[in-house]
């Protein structure tokens, strides 16, 4: 019998705030892609603008490293394990 990974329980409002933040991010990207809101840059256009400068590239690479470190290295377990 497989043992499930223990998940710490947190107040529901915390999850709700994260959902709201990510929802806002994707909603903003969706609005930018529709071209109906003037000159709203998409996420890729924003990244392109940031990556024009060395410090912007460092910051984005650091963000990528931080994300990858948490997902794949720190406290790693097989991703499909429930």
């Amino acid at each position: 019998m497989t043992q499930e990974v223990g998940v710490t329980r947190h107040p529901l409002i915390g999850y709700f705030v994260w959902a709201l933040l990510f929802g806002a991010l994707f909603a903003w990207e969706g609005l930018a892609l529709t071209y109906k809101f003037g000159d709203v840059p998409t996420l890729s256009a924003t990244f392109r603008a940031i990556m024009r400068y060395p410090f912007g590239r460092w910051a984005l690479f650091a963000l990528w490293l931080w994300f990858g470190w948490h997902i794949f290295v720190r406290g790693w377990h097989f991703l499909l394990r429930a």
């Binding site: 912007g56 590239r57 460092w58 910051a59 290295v73 720190r74």
Partner: protein, 163 residues
Amino acid sequence: MVVGYVLIMGALAIGLRLARRSARAEAAGAAAVTNPGQPAGQTNPAPVSAPLATPVPAAPTAPNAPAGVPPAREAGRVTARARLRAIAAPEPGWRRFVIHYLGTAVGGYLLLMVVIIGYYFGISPVAGNFVQSAFSGCALLIGLATPVFIALSWLVERKGWRI
């Protein structure tokens, strides 16, 4: 909280300074291309008394060289600058690719380490081997991603792959 604020503001200040410096270097490079005899520090110094709209004619015999500097020394300075620029940003190719990649990877790695150390010692000491894991884990990620990135770049640039 104050430490976090100082870290973020410091990072933004460094970024702004780098951006302004690179813009200034680009302007100096453009000035050197149009007027090779002129040093980078002296980009079209218009006379204070002259109106801004009045173009300053360049003297054909003395191309805005500072007084007292021999032409040979001036030419040597320009050549050294061009050589430095060629080392920092060479022609498109593998050398430029490696320099660009190494600069980004090392810069991003060091930036993340600075932030993590600042967070750990200034804001909240996270339990476990947080800092050691950050150093080794991020280096491992770069080591794993580098050959994949180089292989994909080669396939896209040399073999015409579409990703």
